[in-house]
C-alpha cells in the first residue's frame, strides 16, 4: 500500500476530514444537551405553576386580588431559572473548579449577611431584600457547597479519613449558619448531600457506617436532651403516632388536613379548582411546602404519580450523567444534585402523606418560591454541563 499516496489522495483526505469533522461535530457540547432532563424539569415547573395558581385561586378571589398574582411571580422566576440553567450549562464546567472557592466562600458570606440584614419570616431570619426582590441565601448555599466539595474532592485521595474531614469541614460553616437562622430543613438537606457525596466518591464503608450511626445517635440525643422545644418535638414525632396526645392537642392538624386532601383526590382527582380542602384553605402553606396536597387532591393518584414519574426521570438522568461524567468533579456535582433532589422530594412529599415529620422543605421545581426555583434550574444547568462535556478526548 502506498500510504503517502493515500495521504495525498484527495478522496482519502476528504474522507479523513469528514470523519474528523463528524467526530468533532458529534462531540460538540451543544449537540449533547440532555433534552430528556430539560423536558422533565420544565414540565415539573409548569405543573408547579398550575398547582400554585389553583392553590391561590380561591383565597385571592375572596380577597379581591388578581388570581394570577403568585403565578406571575413564579413564572418570572421560572424564566430567570431557565436563563440561569442556560448560563450554568454554557461554559465548560471544568473552569468552575478555578472559581469554586470563590463560589463557596461567597455563598457562606451571604449566609453571614442574612443573619444581620435578613428579614424575619415565620420565625426564621432567612431572607435578604434587594431592591424589591427577596432571596434566600440558603438556597444558593446548596449550590455553593456542592461545587465547593466537588472541586475540593476532584484530585484528592479519598481512601483515608482526610476526605471525610474535608467534606464535613466544608459542611460546617454553611450548616452552622443555616441552623442559626434557624432553618433546620435546609440544614438536614446539606447533611444528606454531604453523606451522598462521601458515598459516591468512595469513602470507606466503615466510615460511612460510623457517620450514619452518629447521625442517628445525634438525632435521638437532640430529642432526648430536650434541646428542642416541646412543640418542635411534638411536630417531629406526632406523624409516627397519629392517635397520640400530641395529635389531640393539634400538633398534627396540618398532617390530618394534608392526608384528607391527598386521600380524597382518589384515583383521578377532583379536577382543577375543585379541591375543597384546597379552596377552603384547610391545608396551610399549600402553595409552598404543602403544594403536593393540591396536586394530590385535584389531580388524584394520576397527578401524583405523574409528578413522581417526572422526578424519577430527572433523577435517572442526573444519576446517568454522574455515571458517564468524564471526571470526579462532574460526577460529584451530578450525584450531589441527584441526592439533593431525591431527598427533598422524599421529605417533602413524605411530609404531606404523613410518613415524614413536618419540616420546612420545599418541593423542588413545584413549590412557590423564586430562589428555590432558580437555584434548582441552575443546578440542572450544571448537570447538563457535565453531560455535554462528558467526552474524554479533545
Amino acid at each position: 500500500m502506498d500510504f503517502p499516496a493515500l495521504r495525498n489522495d484527495p478522496t482519502a483526505r476528504q474522507a479523513r476530514a469528514q470523519v474528523q469533522s463528524r467526530w468533532q461535530t458529534a462531540t460538540a457540547p451543544a449537540k449533547h444537551v440532555d433534552p430528556i432532563l430539560i423536558a422533565a424539569s420544565v414540565m415539573l415547573a409548569l405543573c408547579g405553576l398550575l398547582a400554585i395558581y389553583s392553590a391561590k385561586y380561591a383565597p385571592l378571589t375572596s380577597q379581591g386580588l388578581p388570581t394570577d398574582l403568585y403565578v406571575t411571580r413564579q413564572g418570572m422566576a421560572m424564566v430567570i431559572g431557565l436563563v440561569a440553567m442556560t448560563v450554568a450549562a454554557a461554559w465548560d464546567y471544568r473552569s468552575l473548579r478555578t472559581w469554586s472557592s470563590l463560589l463557596y466562600v461567597g455563598s457562606v458570606l451571604l449566609l453571614v449577611l442574612v443573619l444581620f440584614v435578613g428579614d424575619v419570616n415565620k420565625g426564621a431570619q432567612s431572607w435578604i431584600s434587594l431592591g424589591g426582590f427577596q432571596f434566600q441565601p440558603s438556597e444558593l448555599a446548596k449550590i455553593g457547597y456542592i461545587i465547593g466539595v466537588a472541586a475540593w474532592l476532584h484530585d484528592r485521595e479519598v481512601d483515608g479519613f482526610g476526605a471525610v474531614l474535608g467534606v464535613l469541614g466544608l459542611l460546617l460553616p454553611p450548616l452552622a449558619l443555616i441552623v442559626l437562622q434557624p432553618d433546620p430543613g435546609t440544614g438536614t438537606i446539606l447533611l444528606f448531600v454531604a453523606f451522598v457525596i462521601m458515598l459516591v466518591v468512595g469513602v470507606r464503608a466503615r466510615y460511612l457506617l460510623v457517620l450514619a450511626l452518629l447521625g442517628v445517635i445525634g438525632l435521638v440525643g437532640v430529642v432526648q436532651l430536650e434541646l428542642l422545644e416541646d412543640h418542635q418535638v411534638q411536630r417531629l414525632t406526632s406523624f409516627a403516632n397519629p392517635e397520640g396526645e400530641a395529635c389531640a392537642q393539634g400538633a398534627c392538624y396540618n398532617t390530618d388536613q394534608s392526608l384528607i386532601a391527598i386521600g380524597s383526590g382518589q384515583f383521578a382527582g377532583k379536577g382543577l379548582f375543585q379541591g375543597t380542602q384546597t379552596n377552603l384553605s384547610y391545608v396551610p402553606e399549600n402553595h409552598t411546602d404543602f403544594i403536593f396536597t393540591v396536586i394530590g387532591e385535584e389531580f388524584g393518584f394520576v397527578g401524583a404519580v405523574t409528578i413522581l414519574g417526572l422526578f424519577a426521570v430527572v433523577l435517572w438522568r442526573c444519576l446517568h450523567i454522574a455515571a458517564v461524567a468524564r471526571d470526579r468533579f462532574g460526577m460529584v456535582i451530578a450525584a450531589g444534585v441527584a441526592g439533593l433532589l431525591a431527598f427533598q422530594l422524599f421529605v417533602n412529599v413524605g411530609m404531606t402523606v404523613g410518613i415524614m415529620p413536618v419540616i420546612g422543605i420545599p418541593l423542588p421545581f413545584v413549590s412557590y418560591g423564586g430562589t428555590s426555583l432558580i437555584a434548582t434550574f441552575a443546578m440542572i444547568g450544571l448537570v447538563l454541563n457535565v453531560h455535554m462535556r462528558r467526552f474524554r478526548s479533545k
Partner: protein
C-alpha cells in the same frame, strides 16, 4: 493523584447504591400514595366532604370551695348553652357562608329571642379557639334545647351543650371571700405562671378563686373529631377527658359565718338609731368582722358589709350590677370592698396593747408600776385630753387598758420620743423607734399575707415614714401654702391665717416626726392606719401567748374524690416583742375591760355568761377628721384558753362600746352556741 484523572472517576457500586436509595424513596412514596388515594381514598373523600377534623375542647369542672364542714360555698352546675360552630356557618371573613347559613342564624336569633347582631357579637369574639364552638346564649330553657336537637336539619352547626357555671349554694354568704371567674386577661396569658392556659379560658379573679387558681383550675379535655358538613360527628379520632380541678376546703365555719354576717348587719342597722350628744344619729355606713382561731391563725369567719350577690358574676354582670358593686359614684360604700382586709382605718384604743408592750420593752414601766392618768396632758401649747376628760389618778398598765386612759399612753410615748430624739441629737446611729418597731412585731404596717388578694398594709408612722411622706406630699403642700398666702394677703381672716401657717409648716418642715406624732400614734390615732385583720391577728397573738400567725382562709386541698392533696399549714410570722410578764399584764388589762369593775366593755357583755366563758377585749373609738368616730372592738374568749378572736369595726359607728362591742358579744354568743340577744338601742360612749 494523576491516577484519578486517568481512571474512570466513577465507583459503579456506590452509584448503584445511590440509585437504589433514590428508587426506594420513589417506591415508598408511590406505595403510600396508593394506600392513601386508592385503598383509603373513599374514607378520606368522606372526611373531606365533612371538610374537617375538628378539635373540640371540653371545659374541665373547676374545683369547689367548701366550708370547714364540707358544705359547698362555691360549686358548679351545668348550664344548657347554645353553641355555634363558626366553621360550618361562617366563611374566612366571619360572614355567613351562604344565604342558607344567614337564614339559619336568623332562625336561631328568633328562637332564642335575641338579635342576629347579638349572635355576631359573640361569634366575632377572639375568646374562643377557631375549632371549638362558640357559646351564644347560656341557660336556655329545655324547650329550646329539645327544639334544636329535634330539628337538626334546620340548625346545622348549632348545638346545645352543658357548660359548667359557678353556683353559690349559700347565696350571699362569704361573698367577699369567694371572688369570681372570668376570661384570662392578655397580661396573664403572657405571664409564665399561666403557661398552658388558652385564650378564652376562665380564671379566678378576686378572693379565694384567685388565690387558689392553680388548685381549682382543671385541665380541659380534647376531642379530635371528624365532623360532617351538617355538624354531625362521623368519628371520634381521639379523646382526652377533662381533669376536674381540686376542691378547696376552707376554715370557714358555715354557721358562725352566717351568724357573723347576720349580727354585723343587724348591729350596724340598730346602731343607726342611736342619737349622739350633738343630736346626730350614728351613721354606721359600713363595717366588717373577723373571727380567727388564735391557736393557728385560721379564719373561721370574715364578713364585710354592705355585701353583694356573687352569683351575679357567674353570668356576667350587667353594667348596672357592676356599678352597684364597684362604682364609688353609684354606691357610696362600694360593696365590692372586703373591709376586713382592704379597709385601713385608725384603730384608736384597740392599738393600746401595742403601746403598752412598747412601754414595757422600753423599760418605761414594769408590770404593776404606775403612771398618772390626768384629765389632760400638755405638749407645749397643745393640750391632749383624756377621752372622758377626767383625771383617774395613777394606775398600772392593766388598769390603763381597762379604763382606756389616753394620757397614760401620751406620757409614756412622749418619754420614749424624747429619749430617741436625744439619742439622735447625740449623733447616735441606729436608734430603734421602739413604738413603731413593736407595732411591726404585732403585725401592723405590713401585709400579713392572708390567702386573699389585695390585702392592705396600713400605716405605722415613724421618722423615716414621715420624711418619706413629706417628700411625696411636699409639692402639693407648698402649692397650697402659696395659695393660702395669696388668700391671706387679700383677706386676712383667722382661718386663712391658720391655713397659711399650717401649709407653710407642712411645706417647710413637715418631714419632722414631732412629739405630737408620737403621742397621737400611741393611742392609735394620728397617722396610724390598720386593717381589721391586722388587729385580729395581733389579738390572736396576745391570746395564744405571743405567736403571731399568718391568718389563712384555706385549710386543705382535696381531690374531687375527697383524698387529701395537701394541707395548708399554719405559718407563724414571729413572736410578739414583749416579755411573758408583760404579756400577762396586757392580758389582765384586756380581761378587766370586759369583766373588771369600770371596764369599758362591761355593759356590752352584761348578759354574757362570763363566769363560764371569760372574755377579754378592748374597745376603740377612733377619730378621723370631723367624722363620726370609727367604732372598734377586739376580743378573745375563753380568756383563759382562747378559741376565738373576734374583731368588729364599724365605719362612723360611734363608740366602740356602743356599736362594735355589742356585735362582737353576739358573735361570741353564736360561737359558743348560746342564745343570741336581739339588738337594742346602745349605751353611752365608753371609748
Amino acid at each position: 493523584m494523576a491516577a484519578s484523572l486517568d481512571d474512570a472517576p466513577q465507583n459503579p457500586l456506590r452509584l448503584t447504591l445511590l440509585a437504589s436509595v433514590v428508587l426506594l424513596f420513589v417506591l415508598a412514596l408511590l406505595s403510600r400514595l396508593w394506600f392513601l388515594q386508592i385503598l383509603a381514598g373513599a374514607r378520606f373523600d368522606e372526611l373531606s366532604q365533612s371538610q374537617a377534623v375538628r378539635l373540640v375542647t371540653t371545659e374541665a369542672p373547676r374545683g369547689q370551695i367548701l366550708a370547714a364542714g364540707g358544705e359547698p360555698l362555691v360549686s358548679n352546675r351545668a348550664a344548657p348553652t347554645v353553641v355555634v360552630d363558626r366553621q360550618v356557618l361562617l366563611d374566612g371573613n366571619g360572614e355567613p357562608r351562604s344565604e342558607g347559613a344567614e337564614r339559619v342564624l336568623e332562625d336561631l336569633a328568633q328562637l332564642l329571642g335575641i338579635t342576629v347582631e347579638d349572635i355576631f357579637d359573640r361569634l366575632s369574639s377572639v375568646r374562643y379557639s377557631p375549632y371549638s364552638p362558640v357559646p351564644v346564649l347560656e341557660d336556655v330553657p329545655s324547650e329550646v334545647r329539645f327544639y334544636i336537637q329535634e330539628h337538626r336539619e334546620f340548625f346545622p352547626g348549632i348545638d346545645v351543650i352543658d357548660l359548667p357555671v359557678r353556683t353559690y349554694p349559700q347565696e350571699n354568704l362569704a361573698a367577699h371571700l369567694l371572688g369570681y371567674t372570668n376570661e384570662i386577661s392578655p397580661e396573664q396569658l403572657d405571664d409564665p405562671d399561666f403557661v398552658g392556659y388558652r385564650q378564652g379560658e376562665k380564671v379566678g379573679r378576686g378572693g379565694l378563686e384567685q388565690s387558689y387558681e392553680f388548685d381549682l383550675q382543671g385541665i380541659e379535655g380534647t376531642n379530635r373529631l371528624a365532623v360532617s358538613a351538617r355538624g354531625t360527628v362521623l368519628e371520634v379520632l381521639s379523646t382526652i377527658p377533662p381533669t376536674p380541678g381540686d376542691d378547696l376546703v376552707t376554715n370557714i365555719d358555715l354557721e358562725l359565718q352566717a351568724a357573723v354576717e347576720e349580727n354585723l348587719e343587724n348591729g350596724i342597722l340598730a346602731s343607726r338609731s342611736i342619737v349622739r350628744r350633738d343630736g346626730r344619729n350614728l351613721e354606721s355606713v359600713a363595717g366588717s368582722a373577723v373571727v380567727l382561731d388564735p391557736r393557728n391563725g385560721a379564719v373561721l369567719a370574715m364578713a364585710s358589709w354592705p355585701t353583694f350577690d356573687p352569683s351575679a358574676f357567674a353570668d356576667g354582670l350587667t353594667p348596672e350590677e357592676f356599678a352597684a358593686i364597684f362604682d364609688t359614684a353609684v354606691a357610696d360604700e362600694v360593696p365590692a370592698i372586703n373591709r376586713a382586709i382592704q379597709g385601713a382605718y385608725p384603730p384608736g384604743s384597740v392599738y393600746k396593747t401595742v403601746s403598752g408592750a412598747a412601754a414595757l420593752e422600753a423599760g418605761l414601766i414594769t408590770p404593776g408600776s404606775t403612771v398618772p392618768c390626768p384629765s389632760s396632758w400638755q405638749l407645749g401649747s397643745i393640750t391632749f385630753n383624756n377621752w372622758n376628760q377626767r383625771s383617774e389618778g395613777s394606775m398600772d398598765l392593766a388598769t390603763a387598758l381597762k379604763r382606756s386612759c389616753d394620757t397614760f399612753f401620751y406620757e409614756l410615748a412622749y418619754q420614749q420620743y424624747v429619749r430617741e430624739e436625744s439619742a439622735l441629737d447625740a449623733g447616735q446611729q441606729d436608734v430603734t423607734e421602739l413604738f413603731a418597731e413593736t407595732a411591726h412585731g404585732f403585725g401592723f404596717g405590713r401585709e400579713l399575707g392572708i390567702d386573699l388578694p389585695a390585702e392592705q398594709d396600713g400605716v405605722i408612722p415613724s421618722r423615716d415614714w414621715k420624711e418619706d411622706y413629706w417628700e411625696r406630699t411636699r409639692a402639693n403642700n407648698c402649692s397650697l401654702a402659696d395659695q393660702a398666702a395669696q388668700t391671706a394677703a387679700e383677706n386676712p381672716t383667722p382661718s386663712a391665717q391658720y391655713a397659711l401657717q399650717l401649709y407653710t409648716e407642712l411645706c417647710q418642715d413637715g418631714y419632722r416626726f414631732r412629739g405630737g406624732d408620737a403621742v397621737n400614734a400611741s393611742i392609735g390615732q394620728g397617722d396610724v392606719l390598720t386593717t381589721p385583720l391586722q388587729v385580729a391577728a395581733s389579738y390572736a397573738a396576745v391570746a395564744n401567748g405571743g405567736t403571731l400567725f399568718q391568718p389563712r382562709v384555706g385549710d386543705r386541698i382535696v381531690a374531687p374524690d375527697g383524698t387529701l392533696v395537701r394541707e395548708i399549714e399554719p405559718v407563724a410570722l414571729g413572736q410578739l416583742p414583749v416579755s411573758e410578764a408583760g404579756l400577762v399584764e396586757i392580758q389582765q388589762g384586756l380581761k378587766d375591760v370586759v369583766m373588771g369593775d369600770g371596764g369599758t366593755a362591761r355593759s356590752a357583755f352584761s348578759t354574757f355568761p362570763l363566769d363560764e366563758i371569760p372574755v377579754a377585749g378592748k374597745t376603740g373609738t377612733a377619730e378621723l377628721g370631723s367624722q363620726i368616730p370609727y367604732a372598734w372592738f377586739a376580743a378573745y374568749a375563753p380568756a383563759d384558753d382562747p378559741r376565738y378572736v373576734v374583731v368588729v369595726s364599724v365605719e362612723r359607728g360611734g363608740g366602740g362600746s356602743q356599736t362594735a362591742a355589742p356585735i362582737a358579744a353576739r358573735i361570741l354568743q353564736a360561737a359558743f352556741g348560746l342564745d343570741v340577744d336581739p339588738f337594742a338601742a346602745g349605751d353611752e360612749i365608753l371609748d
